[in-house]
Symmetry: C4
Subunit: 341 residues, 4 copies
């Protein structure tokens, strides 16, 4: 199967099927303690933050999702337009396809063209990284003038893909090399089955400063592969995958564990952080910023660039109102705010 | 939109739609320990209490709900009749409308006319207060010969009202001024999204002695605004509001937290305290009296003044029977009674 | 309303309607730790116990339910036959009716006639007791040659009966007098809304040695009165009752609390102890014997004396098998057995 | 009823009816902490273990289920073929039938004929054992050239079988004798109602080194007997059984308790360990290997030998992938891995 076909499969399945974990992020267990008289104005609430040397209007980044297909180009363009306008950040999907087939480069490059000022993040799988030279990796960065490169770990997904990787050796070494040599910062992220605290420690020890925990409770890639295997008539692999649908630490647990393991790292919280109230909770638990994937894709499917704009501006508005309601004018205030469990 | 129209909207929506929080007050977690042989007679059980210098037959106050509309006049008259007869207390809804349009004054004044002896409480929003002189505020009091004035905080509601306030600065200062100067005591209340313990402390430090915590678990004003936004075609605001429907500390938590933050203040417990058993639990947790809103409105919608009479006398009867069943002849006894969680 | 009519109402409502508490006894939270190799034979398992000077084959007593009506006579006869044959114990319902109308005496006396050897327990309400001389009470005992007299507390039920008592003073004193003077032991029991540990202590201090805690989770008499009030068109009283349906400590809690308050008293556990496994759990929690009411009545309604026989022999068989499966040959063994919560 | 008929009943009922406990194993409460970057290859993951002197490819043993009937012969043959090919282990069902009727020996012997190298385990009830000489027992072993003999305890099942044993004395002594004298190791197992920690201690003290806890959460033999009793018109026994359907410690609890009671024994974990993820959890809790019964039978019913092959290879694959995802290359690694509760 060609990568771009698999990518199309993924877009269709995630858009139209129930691909969630059937457990929650546990973020709903976090009860923010309100401030009934916040002595502030909504105007004053400023959730902006500097990440990778860029100031963004809110700590909200659209996770890397796509590229490598003409449909991907449209999706990436739409997200980029909105992100540029709202002053947020976004990632592209794995750039592996473009490495193999340069004709696909435009499906990624569109992002920077449309969003010259926004925070843009490149993307490559950890397994691919191990096979690439530092120059090859720099090409991914320059392809989209990326502000940072996200390296994704996705062992669970690979294991339930018929054509997936089965050998995950050398990943840490490859990340270490990149962190040391690359011209931009490196983020290590999962894709919905969480990065655990032991791995967080190890990553910190090799110099990684940015980690997206991407925990359980949102999109489950094992579930996506279950559906794909079922469609392909691979009943046994589908059943294996169904057993592991909910693999990983729930996002709320993953945030707390990562913060505990890496008190000074920059923790991004993804995986089911799907509205501004959940973002508020993730930030209160210690995340520096949140990442969100699937709902953005669905907003696009629903109503194109307007759908994405509606979703992301509502998301930021929800976050700002939540901040006001707990009496936080800035993220720094927010980190100091009480919650109950 | 004119205030009185919004008021009518609110009456209709709260009467006919499901406007509850979809979480509970947590009062149901309080297990009163019975006294199987109470050595008392129901006659002897006396839940009367002195509030704002008036003796009321039971610590039950109908929360401020309405005014400013000819329908409001009928509702207020009905509640006032019952409250006068049963010897209870009641509040009127926000008197802001009457400030703007004196022709509406009668829709409030009816209360004192019908209930010359009952405990009557005025009402104004904290945001309005900041814009009023002390003389203006005294006019609200004299309009209904109020025994006390309730100042309501309702940040969450305002934030999800298209026309709502967005600036909440100066509220504390305005309350401080009023507390110092007004001829009657001031109650600070929320409208169903709770007053938190930090705000309770702050209020106490500026001289507030009466606080109605109005926690989550009963009427959710964010939910009401969600429904109103949806009707008005404001889909995005409606969705934002839906995310925050359950905002606030559940009433049981809010009572305990307020009592802890203000050991000697008078704590009123509202928000989903909808029958005499829940009232019993709220009092056992440390509240001095309870307030109840929505079910009174619905009892009126159901059967006019008779509906209100049936509801409130049942409520008091339930409370008195509950007191007897835990062996408490008075509220003082009740505060000393055991419960399990 | 004549007593016997109310008694008939009670029989019909409890037999055909859902009259349970809608909370459980919490006995299901007790996890008996099995003994996989008990080194015993079922024959050897002997749950017999001496109560009120009589040896009974198992610590299972049918609670007092009826009398005072020709239907009651048939029910009492059936239960007595079975109890005599199985060597168990039983109570009769309140003998108040027979005090007022001696023609009804036979509906109680039938029990002793049919069960000359069984443990038989008389019954009177605590409120009635206060109005009777010691000689009158002795007549209740002699009426059925009772081995003990149960005095029932039922404040919650009375409060939601239109014609019920409202004055519960003098109850403790009346019990104290009876305990001192009566020729047989006195049991104090509730009827499904529990006896709390404070009352247990008080009862012990006035000489009571037998207490049936009759907790929440089985038959709710407040619920029965709710249904009766609803039938009688007393909508408001019915609603009050519905609020208090689940009043009381769940039976499991009531047992532990009573044992804690009265380490050496004889604790009987009733209220929803409806099969031999729940009986096992109640005994493991510290009860000396169990009492069971409603399922016996329903077994009679289902299949007369044969239904009662089937129910009670199954109940004892379940208990004996449970004892074997935790490795207990006797009740003494059982009290020393482990459980987890 | 002849044994072989009862055996057929059991096969049919367990295959086609809901015979689970209606409580869970609690294994689902174990949250394995992932390793997002395991630095290993799936090839390297080696769950092999030496049991009873034989190396098996994974710690997965098909529990003893059948024998003594011509259908049993086919089932045993199918399981044996798969087990031989995958390098796993299996038990046969109780060999009691073959003791009574030597013409049935082939229905067991087929296993060793088809699986000359696999780990094969004989089976006899503890109650039978007490009546057999050591030579008789050796015959069971030699009948199938067993690598070990499983002695099953099944008190709960027997108690709810009309024709079941009621006397369980002498069991411990009989096991002690066998452990001392038999030419192969002895496993003591339950059949789904758990072996408790006290019994584990006792077994260890008489020299037993292998214990299959077979806890609650999978097949409930009391439930099977309930269905059989109901079919046979034994309504009362069926109801007794229904009360005890969930008897026993849930498997997760039983594993932890057994490991605590016998730190150095070999603990096998059965009872509802029905996929590779639950196996992973059971091993993380301290089991040395897992046993699985009912799903293998159903896989056979579904698709004969191919069904069994599909089930067991999927099971092992799930386990190996789970090991990789927690970063364990071997079982020794796995025992040292973290989990949260
Ligand atoms: C359609 C789709 C494609 C994705 N492709 C990638 C990818 O190429 N690289 C990557 O690192 N993550 C990818 N992800 C994972 C997301 O970045 C994110 O970590 C995950 O979906 C969890 O976030 P969510 O619950 O908000 O969807 C993809 C997600 C979706 C929905
Ligand atoms: C129809 C309606 C109108 C209300 N209007 C006011 C108001 O004008 N001022 C105010 O302080 N609270 C107002 N409230 C809030 C109540 O006073 C109360 O705090 C809240 O409804 C929670 O109590 P409940 O759960 O018993 O309804 C209103 C409530 C209702 C149902
Ligand atoms: C039909 C019926 C009549 C009863 N009448 C009496 C009574 O006269 N006196 C009494 O002490 N308890 C009476 N009870 C209460 C029972 O003795 C028992 O305490 C209560 O029903 C809880 O037990 P259960 O859950 O097993 O039904 C009656 C119960 C029933 C079902
Ligand atoms: C059809 C069937 C027959 C069984 N027969 C036996 C048996 O003869 N001897 C035995 O020790 N266990 C027997 N068992 C019990 C299993 O070995 C096992 O302990 C129990 O089923 C729990 O495992 P499970 O939940 O994976 O089914 C049998 C189980 C099944 C389903």
């Amino acid at each position: 199967m060609r990568i771009s076909n698999r990518k199309l499969d993924h877009l269709l399945i995630t858009t139209y099927y129930d691909v969630n974990h059937s457990v929650t992020t546990l973020l709903e267990e976090v009860l923010p303690v309100p401030r009934a008289a916040p002595e502030a104005s909504l105007d004053e609430v400023d959730p902006s933050i500097t990440l990778f040397g860029k100031r963004i209007a809110a700590p909200v980044i659209v996770s890397g999702m796509t590229g490598g297909h003409h449909i991907a180009l449209e999706i990436n363009r739409a997200i980029a337009e909105v992100v540029e306008e709202l002053g947020l950040g976004m990632g592209v999907g794995s750039q592996r396809a473009a490495v193999k087939d340069p004709s696909l480069i435009d499906t990624y490059r569109v992002v920077r063209r449309v969003a010259p000022n926004a925070l843009i993040i490149g993307n490559i799988g950890a397994a691919q990284l191990a096979k690439m030279s530092i120059d090859d990796v720099e090409k991914l960065v320059s392809m989209i003038e990326a502000d940072a490169l996200a390296v994704h770990l996705n062992v669970p997904q690979e294991l339930f893909q018929p054509e997936g990787d089965r050998d995950f050796r050398g990943v840490i070494k490859a990340i270490e090399k990149i962190v040391e040599k690359l011209s931009v910062p490196v983020i290590v992220k999962e894709t919905g089955h969480s990065i655990d605290p032991v791995t967080v420690s190890k990553l910190v020890s090799i110099g990684v400063e940015y980690i997206d925990v991407s925990g359980a409770g949102g999109t489950s890639w094992v579930r996506v592969e279950e559906l794909r295997a079922r469609n392909a008539g691979e009943a046994s692999l589908a059943r294996e995958a169904s057993v592991y649908r909910n693999w990983g630490l729930p996002t709320a647990v993953a945030i707390v564990a990562a913060r505990w393991a890496a008190p000074t790292a920059c923790i991004l919280a993804g995986g089911g952080v799907w509205n501004g109230l959940d973002a508020l909770r993730a930030l209160m638990l210690g995340a520096d910023a949140v990442t969100v994937a699937l709902p953005v894709l669905r907003a696009y499917a629903d109503n194109g660039v307007d759908g994405v704009m509606a979703f992301l501006s509502r998301y930021v508005s929800e976050l700002r109102k939540g901040m006001l309601m707990v009496g936080a004018r800035t993220l720094r205030d927010l980190y100091a705010t009480d919650y109950a469990l």
